[in-house]
Amino acid sequence: MASEALDKPALGQTFIAGLWNENPVLRLVLGMCPTLAVTAAVRPALTMGCSVIFVLVCSNLVVSLMRNLLKPHLRILMFTLTIAAFVTIADLFLKAFLPEMSERLGPYVPLIIVNCIIICRAEACASKNGLAVSLVDAIGMGLGFTMTLCVLASVRELLATGKIFEQQVMPAVFVPWAAMSMPVGAFITLGLMLGLVNTITKKKA
């Protein structure tokens, strides 16, 4: 009972950390490749986020299960093997059930294998903690990543096309900013978001 009572706040903190204090994109500045590349619209950003959540949850659970068996010098190899297996499954799933989205995301789904967020969580959390903490950490981090991607994509899609989820939102007089759908739009929006988050956290401190 006592350990359960001690675990509860830790789980809550672990979950919240992924959403804000240790948000993988806005605080740890990890996973920049998909953050910049697939956020021209909300739909691909959401799909990428869900794929990352799936891979994070599965890899964290497996790494946590095998944590006592890992040889220190082989651990990165084991993490990569685990992540690659689940990324391949996610890629096959998208090809089978969401072929157009799979095509739209192109090489960025297989590139989840080298996404630093996943290997970082395997090393920093799952290889040192039990199943519950690893699961909560994966969900928190995955949701933090997905939410950030969706916010970034919403701003870019809205300004680039006047639409959100391909539905017209802006009035007809709005002139779309084509640059927002290009890489420059991704860099500017992410830079502004990072600046905003830094300002908020400085004020809090």
Partner: protein, 206 residues
């Protein structure tokens, strides 16, 4: 003996995990491969219909045609015949594969019913660099192939991209990908044309 023991002591988890994950991927692949193949067939048919506007249906004109590769290898492709509503041949299409900048490029190429000119190409699969090599899909580049003579093409770095002839103007910043597409056309077209003309499929209007 002690070396082998040491090897297994160190790597047993890696070996067991490799088998387990391999099995997991095999199961997923077995469960979804049929669906993935069907998606590819649907996409291929859609792209062929986009290229050959009059096409109403497709049948296989030639199966496993052997194409001599530039690396002295032989690749095989099927040639599809496009038929209009009255059953007249309005064109042919085939899948062509070649090396791109970072991975294979898979194209659907269409020629007219007499195999005298190209009707264009569509990208079936490619992993070219986003923002650069993937511009091979853009109309600026792909429209240069529409109505070009069905023979060897030549890639040039500067020129008039609106002029339709055997010269294709490369995409600025993606010369390797542009070159790859032209090379794929050049690898396939002679054999495909020869095959269609000698077998009497092209130009018989049936």
């Amino acid at each position: 003996m002690s070396n082998i023991k040491h090897f297994f002591e160190q790597s047993w988890l890696l070996i067991v995990s490799s088998f387990f994950f391999g099995l997991l991927i095999a199961v997923a692949n077995a469960a979804w491969s049929e669906r993935i193949v069907q998606n590819e067939i649907d996409k291929r048919n859609r792209l062929m219909t986009d290229l050959i506007a009059d096409a109403n249906s497709f049948d296989v004109a030639a199966q496993a045609v052997e194409i001599p590769d530039t690396k002295a290898k032989v690749v095989k492709t099927d040639i599809y015949r496009a038929l209009d509503g009255s059953g007249r041949t309005v064109g042919f299409a085939f899948i062509a594969v070649g090396s791109g900048f970072q991975d294979k490029i898979k194209l659907v190429i269409a020629v007219d019913g007499k195999c005298e000119k190209f009707l264009g190409f569509k990208v079936l699969a490619s992993n070219e660099t986003p923002g650069f090599g993937d511009k091979i899909k853009d109309s600026y580049f792909s429209s240069q192939f529409r109505d070009a003579p069905a023979g060897k093409l030549q890639l040039v770095k500067t020129g008039d991209d609106k002029k339709i002839d055997s010269e294709i103007v490369a995409i600025s910043g993606a010369t390797v990908s542009s070159e790859a597409v032209v090379k794929i056309f050049n690898t396939y077209i002679d054999t495909v044309r020869e095959h269609l003309q000698t077998k009497g499929s092209a130009g018989n209007g049936k």
